[in-house]
Symmetry: D2
């Protein structure tokens, strides 16, 4: 293996708070080990277009606390073609970039896996997605911030729900994953949580809402985007039909969940895996995602990481039932 | 005029952050002047049902910082009937309540105006609504908190908009009023603001979005609910048709705008008018809303206050045009 | 009067949230009117050192929501000398800057006043200070954010005070001004407020703390830095001596009050006066601070603006007494 | 072992955000299993004074999002005596309380350990302290909120530090533990972290501050309260002596670190261990703290839990060095 001299770093797919902290960590660690660092803008699109910038310590000054990604992000259809990847490879070579740190989720790592094999290019990945749905890490960068954003919003909704004795159906992000819904449902004191991983039992939901009605003035139901009955609006319609005398409202939290200053834990996680990513490249790792499991750095092959984590802790589901009674 | 001995206080209509600070101020001021105070739950509904509670200093301890209203709020169809108001009057009399402080918006004051005349009952009102659409006060209780909640959300949306070079259409509250949209549009650095008070010029909007596109990667358009072209989803559809290559998203902020810890200014305003309301009753005022104009307490007859403030400062509209260039 | 071609903009003295929004407004308005704009770094120090940068629309992109000042700020002893000001003048001339917008407080405007007269140089000022102690504007840029930061902190302190039945002495900023203390004291539901503008009556304070003790478990006293008895630590010591069985704690909020994302109102104010400043220069105004009084733009000669606003609204002081009972 | 019928719950020692979420979980879980629940106010003091209240589902409604503890907390010297504990035991017996859930830190568990043995009384504990210094759980309730409060404050301080090119010494809580300092130091992008667990190497600190000075305008040093050189003021004095031309400021964050709405993770943790505590009592556990290790509920004898966790992950310390360069 040739010695690494110039590390390229990029963010790709949906943005997540803490990506800037990860970029900062990659850049400063590379410099610490006397490597050059090149920022690649807009992920794979930037590779294909040669949208590169040399990064120094100052490029990443005062960004650890900022949401979004200073390198911007995109999804690239072009990179899914062999021709797109060839262009990318040639640009990287021309620029002297000889290793990559990819920050993103399953789409990002799928691209990295293919490209890494095709061109025998050293790539490691950092888990950057609010969905927390990657295998190989306890948490992904952005998840902790997103769940705090959700409960901040639901706390506000609860103020008005309590004042009006209303039932709110609140939709949170998670097309394939109920992990945001699960923790925020517990933390918001929700009556019920509807997630894609479990079959939505409408009768159980109706029963619960009826039963609780007697002595609880307001109610919150948290619905993950990808829930099988069709999301918050659909559930809201069903509940309004069933309980026409309830004052039922729907709120879709939407894109606020992607932004904001990263939480302390997201910054620490991003910093840890950012440092470890560069050190892993130097030790010869490639095609692996760097995560943290049980407090220790972990290395997971891309092909394993991108398998969706569909395991929902049944103990957490039971907590919702016990505490919302 | 008979001497006042027992002041009833209630919140009615849409809730607004700072209502609790207002309740606290009314209760403590009444006690300061050796009056009794009775809380009426759920506004006019509670009057009709006799849902009363005696309040002391402790009833309002540690609530100044809480969103919502501890007295709960509701809209009442029953109170619009003479029969409903008769029931309310009898309940108030039975309880010994001989003056009222109504906290709410135009619906609240319309009810107060009719009831006050019908039964010659001393009532003053406090402007409690996030919409800031009442004449007779520079700001309503809740408006300042709501606009801060909006920009907090739009700042988050901007993080992701910047990262993806997206155009966001963000809908804020204001069925009849563009005042939330106007200030938050300026404060969020929006490209354009669409409000009910002005005719929406779609061509001007398209022109602006096109023109700015060249060197500005992300864009925010703030739309008030009541905007004439049909709100954010409708505008979003039109823009997607016109600019199919823009990455356009719609976000409806919804009920988070009603909740949350009240801002400093909302607490100060609520405290000032709460104190002034009780003092006004003692001085013989009735059928008036207590507001603050140019830093001084003001008294406005209910029938004037409920006329919607439709005046939009043209200087503020021009600022949007200059600064979004 | 020669036509203005190049406006210099700088921030000086203590920083305040919203200064960036003001810089953005000045830059974009100048460009709107086809002027050039030059940023001057670190206030008068930068003038003396020729620390200039040409600003375009992008220089001020995505800064409206950021605390601090991208132009940095400083206090300059050198500019107080004729020789320093001569250097500054020569640098400005060399660079082609023919008008200035100064953002800051009384120190900033004192310098501007002297320099403007000495070299007949067109300067207008924007009120940028968290202290709100300038005549000629209802609010200064940064004040609204600072008071929200204070009540956010005091709400947290109240949580622990309530849990432990403690008395907290909280010191807020305001060396010569009690305006931060006054509004935050009302909004935090404080028992007492000690400010530089009024003589601190310790016996009245003791009496109040004793009286309230019986049925109120926790207490907050807000002390302005410049309070005559010596600030929070001194007051804390006196109270501990007098009431050895109270669990009394002191908290000095310090520099957090200067930072943070500006509030909606601070961004709107900064935007309005920023636009108005450039328009004022074009209309021939100089030696004036641009503020907002009763909702309208106002122009106040520097020599009047820098006279400290020592007027404390007695109605607000009385509110503290009534509501803390 | 006799069957449990009435669970007493109390908070003791320093309060921590999330204690209310823990109380709610204990109360609702006990009711779910058809037990009675008694709240004990002010910890051991309340046991000695018989300050009890029967709790139902509504007693813990709408508190999951609140800082502090609705049961209040205290430190008790009286409970350290055999006579105090006897009084407590008699009160518990009289009231019919036959098992206890103690929420607090090492002092709380030390008391619980002694009392549990002395009277063979079933007690389990929940880790409620912002310090995260207990063995037997990855995180304590309140730690996650506290570190987010710290970085929120340091982000604000950084705004003003950047604007003025200042060096800030920021003191965070942690009399015996550097765990708050360590994570917040990483997350705030601090130059250096001084903690009680490691010897403070002043020369290394000076060297670092000097070296970085050249191209970094502002600097943050995070100091834990219990740091051996004497805390932030002492360190600040040393640095001012050494670098008289640096603009050095000290900020002690203080009690704001104990308050505020609990973070999502703190609420989830509190809910999980609250449920598990009641279930543990029913299964016959006692003298154990209930924590979460590697995502699973864990049971640790009080005598092990109260041994301070003094282990500082060296990988995290190294990250500070790499990333602050």
């Amino acid at each position: 293996m040739a010695q690494i001299k110039n590390v390229g770093v990029y963010t790709s797919g949906g943005d997540a708070p803490g990506m800037n902290a990860a970029i900062r960590a990659v850049v400063r660690t590379a410099l610490y080990y006397n490597l050059e660092v090149t920022g690649i803008r807009r992920g794979y699109e930037g590779m294909i277009n040669g949208d590169f910038l040399t990064m120094d310590r100052k490029s990443v000054g005062n960004i650890i606390q900022r949401g979004g990604t200073i390198l911007k992000t995109a999804r690239s259809e072009h990179f899914k073609t062999a021709e797109g990847r060839k262009l990318a490879y040639e640009n990287l070579k021309k620029r002297g970039i000889d290793a990559l740190v990819a920050i993103g989720g399953d789409g990002t790592f799928t691209g990295a896996k293919v490209f890494g094999k095709e061109y025998n290019f050293p790539i490691v990945g950092l888990p950057g997605t609010i969905d927390n749905d990657l295998l190989g890490t306890d948490y992904t960068i952005g998840y902790d911030t997103a769940i705090n954003t959700v409960i901040d919003a639901v706390d506000k909704i609860r103020d008005t729900a309590e004042s009006h004795d209303r039932l709110f159906i609140v939709e949170v992000m998670g097309r394939d994953s109920g992990l945001i819904a699960l923790r925020t449902g517990i933390a918001a004191g929700a009556e019920a949580i509807l997630i894609p991983e479990t079959k939505t039992d409408l009768n159980a939901l109706y029963h619960k809402l009826e039963q609780g009605r007697k002595d609880k003035s307001s109610k919150i139901v948290i619905v993950a985007e990808g829930e099988e009955a069709g999301g918050a609006f659909e559930i809201g319609k069903l509940i309004k039909d069933r309980f026409p005398n309830y004052d039922t409202r729907v709120s879709v939290l939407g894109h606020i969940q992607r932004g904001g200053r990263p939480s302390c834990q997201d910054r620490v996680l991003a910093s840890r895996v950012g440092v470890a990513a560069v050190e892993a490249l130097l030790k010869g790792h490639h095609n692996e995602m760097i995560g943290v499991i049980n407090g220790e750095i972990s290395y997971t092959p891309f092909e394993s990481a991108i398998k969706h984590n569909t395991e929902i802790n049944p103990a957490l589901l039971k907590i919702v039932d016990i505490l919302s009674l």
